[in-house]
């Protein structure tokens, strides 16, 4: 196995073009597990740790441009106010050591349906920025996931950043695991309220072959909220439940060692109901961003 260590993005893209089978590695929190379990034996690893361009975040044209190699710990420490949903999800990733190393870019590249970043990225209409020697393009998050651990990334492309609008309303994230930390999600759910557009974003994790949104639930709740944005009032329990049911119905989960399909569907409905309740409560209280 070769180990390629570029020191610039241009160099990294050239290397990826030359050896498309090279597996990019940043924090290594997914890749090293796969290697350790002998699930893959790539001919080369492409170490992105010396590529400075993708290890920082900035604000560009009103959006947060989060470099692919920014670790979760920085999302939590530095972006909790602007990306509260993503920061909440980041807090549930692994252990402190994993959060020091793991990255949102890596989570996207692995494209596991259980990845913790996906639901908040979906809920807030993130855009994935990818690059190759051929140039740079952006992929809307809903078009990024193609299948279990498959994404729209071309073999010569690297993820360089993810672009997200700062929260314009309360966001929430919740996850069920078989224990309270160091755990892969049995299922997870993110919700983002967008008062300006009168819409609600959702994201479901460990619920289907790919992370996905629940469009019917989004449409339903946008309709229910349309009259309430200007004069917020508590939501009826029946509305929250209906929202939960629609989220549950959007899931296509499987049975595996972590949980059954039936349990996942049920739990997603509960998470959706609760997170929406919390987010709407925050909105009613005038809190734009949740206390993440």
């Amino acid at each position: 196995m070769d180990f390629i260590r570029p020191t610039s993005l241009a160099e990294a893209l050239r290397a990826k073009a030359e050896v498309p089978e090279a597996v990019p590695i940043a924090g290594g929190t997914d890749v090293m597990v796969e290697l350790n379990f002998d699930r893959r034996r790539p001919p080369a690893l492409l170490d992105l740790n010396a590529v400075g361009e993708i290890a920082k975040w900035s604000e560009v044209d009103g959006r947060i441009r989060l470099g692919a190699a920014v670790p979760y710990v920085r999302v939590i420490d530095e972006l909790g106010d602007r990306l509260p949903g993503l920061a909440m999800a980041a807090r549930t990733v692994g252990s402190p050591q994993i959060r020091n190393r793991g990255t949102v870019g890596g989570n996207l590249a692995a494209a596991s349906p259980a990845g913790d970043s996906h639901p908040p990225l979906l809920a807030s209409d993130a855009v994935v920025e990818v690059a190759s020697v051929r140039g740079t393009r952006t992929i809307p998050i809903t078009e990024f996931y193609l299948g279990v651990k498959r994404s729209a990334l071309e073999p010569d492309e690297l993820i360089t950043a993810v672009l997200l609008p700062p929260a314009d309303g309360p966001q929430q994230f919740s996850k069920v695991g078989t224990r309270n930390a160091m755990v892969i999600a049995v299922c997870s759910f993110a919700v983002a309220l967008h008062p300006a557009s009168g819409t609600v974003g959702t994201g479901l994790g460990s619920a289907a072959p790919t992370p996905r949104r629940a469009p019917e639930a989004e449409d339903y709740i946008a309709g229910e909220l349309s009259a309430l944005w200007q004069s917020p009032a508590p939501l009826a329990d029946s509305v929250l439940r209906r929202f939960g049911e629609l989220v549950g119905a959007a899931a296509q989960p499987i049975d595996d060692v972590r949980g059954s399909a039936a349990y996942r569907r049920h739990a997603l409905a509960v998470l959706a109901r609760r997170t929406l309740g919390w987010a709407w409560h925050d909105y009613c209280e005038g809190r734009v961003t949740a206390c993440a």
């Binding site: 069920v176 060692v257 972590r258 949980g259 039936a262 349990y263 739990a267 509960v270 609760r274």
Partner: protein, 734 residues
């Protein structure tokens, strides 16, 4: 607490080394010229090896040798079992009995080269049809004949159980299941073997260096004194290192063939498949009682899986035999063979799964009767051993109930299930009794007093994380009359006086007694030396007129008159002054056990419904407590482990092949900090001198027994749902 050590809340002596990384474990052993081994595992769970192509592995960089059944290893004979895991020696033939079975060992210059070459070994199988699970094995369950592991009565009858059942006004009957669970210690098993001529030294993660030496010697046909086992520190075991497993013998074999030291650190996956597990059980219990709650009869029928190369029944039924005063009883244990690795002792063998079934059944009876579960247990207290009729050496179980109920606030429990709520949470209380036979084993120790006043304890026991190094120092310090910080200890080496195994809760009582006897011997010799020495201020005194404190011998009648051990020994040029201690458990008129009571509060999110143990109290009666700090720590660890057993631990199997679906810590979950609520441990702390001279009994196992039942009973109290299968996952509660 004595002034000189016993009971003091000392920080464990190796704590600093452990947290700074200075502690040396078996994998830290590096010998000159040492090579590294990797074990190749069978991919199928039944059948035979049609062919094994090791040519690519042999040609790989750095490879020094590859061995398999094709090399026809000549074992001297199968070691006496128990404590050797299996009846089949590794590489004996081409048969496959379980997935993960060692089929080859590859030795190379580096660990990485060995792992790489191991992946190049090509096996072709003639796959057989496996018996994949206990469920599939049940139809062929059988009662094993006595022998080997089958060392307790497989069937017990007391009184007339059928008649008693028929005449019982109240009956409960249920089937309980416990899961296939794994020890999952942090430190995997490690062996380093080195030969000098016909002398073998093994650095091995062993819970019993003395016992294991004999087994290894038998396998290689060597006299015991030609084998040395060394085990510096163990990073957790819970039973996984109770037995000698195949890797230890294979590494010794490879080292002999290659003429150089060889080390293997088995993989995490191999920890799940080749060093034992607690087998799943199916237990049927029926209880007949009077309306006032007095037990008339218990029947307890238990089946556990075992492998095709070992018969190992779990003594689950002892819970029913030995816990309560019940005049009629029938128990039976059956084995059912499946194509999985061999089961072994795992905290807590027998009583762990057995108490789950019995203590849940008692809770069901209490509910049926509308009785308080604590009161029901009090009413059926066994004043003498219910099977043998012998008195207990020491038993304070009633006090455990009383203290526990009071400290826990048991009176706040609502007998009507599902009635206490707070927000989304359902709240429930549950309790269970704990009882464990106190095992004894011969043990020896020496205690040396040196001319500088320092003391050295030498005994071939081992510290598996429970605090043994510290408690043995405290025992010696107490008996000698010196401060514990003057005492150092050396353990884990068969060159030392033979100590006790660190399993079966044996260490504190048996090895502690040996250390105490040795220290008393040294103290007595020092006093005799002083009173017979004209140069001593104590000259001429009767021996019993002398006491020792803080390393100074003095006249009881005139404490100013005296001298230190150091001065006495220096003047007499005795260095060291050695005391010998040999503890030999004798036939006893008593039944010796440890006892306890567990009380637990669960909160269950009624929608999700995940169970959280927010509060747990254990009241434990294990004789005198040698060190309240390490004991509390050990008990909390045991309770946390059992909360894992209750709520999450299960090594799930493929229903067709029987293979473990996810033999890795990523999916075999044990509790993390965020799962653990308040855990309170209270010790009755009364010495049991009928048990052994020290009056201390084992703690490692008793603290775990009954926890899973207390949790399940609390879940019932919270929800009205009786979950009889472990673990209690949200899926089962939905």
């Amino acid at each position: 607490m004595s002034e000189q050590g016993i009971g003091a809340a000392l920080t464990r002596v190796e704590a600093r080394d452990k947290v700074t990384g200075a502690a040396r474990y078996t994998a830290d052993v590096v010998l000159p010229g040492m090579a590294y081994a990797a074990l190749v595992s069978s991919q199928v769970s039944a059948g035979r090896l049609r062919s094994l192509d090791v040519s690519a592995a042999k040609a790989a960089p750095g490879v020094l040798g590859v061995f398999s059944h094709l090399d026809r290893p000549t074992w001297h004979r199968v070691p006496a079992i128990p404590y050797f895991g299996e009846t089949r020696m590794p590489f004996s033939d081409d048969r496959i009995h379980h997935a993960g079975q060692h089929i080859a060992i590859v030795v190379a210059s580096t660990r990485q080269q060995a792992a790489h070459a191991a992946a190049l070994v090509k096996a072709e199988y003639e796959a057989g049809k496996p018996v994949p699970t206990l469920e599939k094995a049940l139809p062929s369950a059988y009662v094993a004949a006595q022998g080997n592991y089958v060392n307790f009565p497989q069937e017990t009858v007391r009184g007339t159980p059928e008649e008693a059942l028929a005449g019982s006004p109240v009956r409960v009957k249920a089937e309980y299941r416990t899961a296939l669970i794994s020890h999952a210690p942090i430190e995997p098993s490690v062996t380093t073997a080195t030969w000098e001529g016909d002398e073998l030294t093994l650095y091995d993660t062993s819970q019993a260096v003395v016992v294991h030496r004999g087994l290894v010697a038998t396998a290689f046909g060597l006299p015991e004194d030609k084998v040395r086992l060394v085990c510096p520190l163990i990073g957790g075991a819970f039973g996984a290192k109770t037995h000698v497993w195949g890797h230890t013998l294979l590494v010794a074999l490879a080292a002999r063939r290659l003429g150089r030291p060889v080390q293997v650190v088995i993989t995490r996956k191999q920890m799940f498949t080749t060093t034992g597990h607690q087998p799943p059980t199916v237990q049927r219990i029926e209880i007949g009682a009077e309306r006032d709650g007095r037990l008339r009869v218990i029947t307890h029928d238990s089946t556990n899986s075992t492998s095709f190369v070992a018969e190992r029944p779990e003594n689950t039924v002892l819970s029913s035999v030995a816990t309560y005063a019940v005049p009629n009883l029938r128990t039976r244990v059956r084995l059912a063979r499946m194509n999985f690795g061999t089961p072994t002792a795992m905290r807590t063998p027998g009583d762990g799964p057995g108490s789950f079934a019995l203590e849940c059944a008692l809770d069901e009876l209490a509910h049926e009767l509308g009785a308080d579960p604590v009161e029901l247990r009090r009413r059926n207290h066994a004043d003498v051993h219910p099977q043998s009729g012998k008195p207990w050496s020491g038993k304070n179980l009633l006090e455990c109930y009383r203290i526990g109920a009071e400290r826990f606030g048991w009176h706040r429990r609502d007998r009507r299930p599902g009635t206490r709520r707070e927000g989304n949470d359902l709240i429930g209380y549950g309790m269970a009794t704990a009882r464990r036979v106190e095992h004894h084993r011969a043990a020896e120790s020496t205690v040396d007093i040196r001319t500088d006043g320092g003391v050295v304890v030498r005994t071939a026991t081992q510290d598996i994380g429970g605090g043994t190094l510290t408690t043995m120092i405290q025992v010696a310090a107490d008996a000698l009359g010196v401060a514990p910080d003057k005492v150092t200890i050396t353990v884990g080496d068969t060159d030392l006086p033979p100590g006790a195994p660190t399993f079966g809760s044996i260490t504190s009582g048996s090895n502690g007694s040996a250390v105490r006897l040795a220290a008393q011997d040294a103290r007595g010799a020092a006093i005799r030396l002083a009173v017979g020495d004209k140069g001593s201020p104590l000259h001429g005194l009767a021996e019993d007129a002398v006491d020792v404190r803080d390393g100074r011998l003095f006249a009881k009648a005139d404490p100013r008159r005296g001298e230190t051990y150091a001065v006495l020994l220096t003047r007499n040029r005795v260095n060291p002054l050695r005391g010998n201690g040999k503890y030999s458990p004798a036939e006893s008129q008593y039944e010796t056990s440890t006892f306890g009571a567990h009380f637990t509060e669960v909160r269950i999110d009624r929608d999700l419904p995940r169970v959280r143990v927010v509060r747990h109290l254990a009241v434990i009666d294990c004789g005198i407590v040698l060190n309240t700090k390490t004991a509390r720590n050990q008990a909390q660890g045991g309770i946390i482990g059992s909360i894992g057993v209750a709520l999450m631990e299960e090594l799930r199997q493929d229903p067709v092949s029987g293979r473990a679906l996810a033999p890795a810590l990523t999916d075999y979950h044990v509790p993390v900090n965020a799962d653990i609520g308040q855990i309170d441990v209270h010790f009755v702390n009364k010495p049991d001198h009928n048990s052994n001279p020290l009056g201390a009994k084992g703690l490692g196992e008793i603290c775990s027994i009954g926890v899973s039942a207390a949790v399940a009973n609390a879940v019932f109290n919270a929800t009205g749902r009786r979950i009889r299968d472990l673990p209690i996952t949200p899926r089962r509660l939905l």
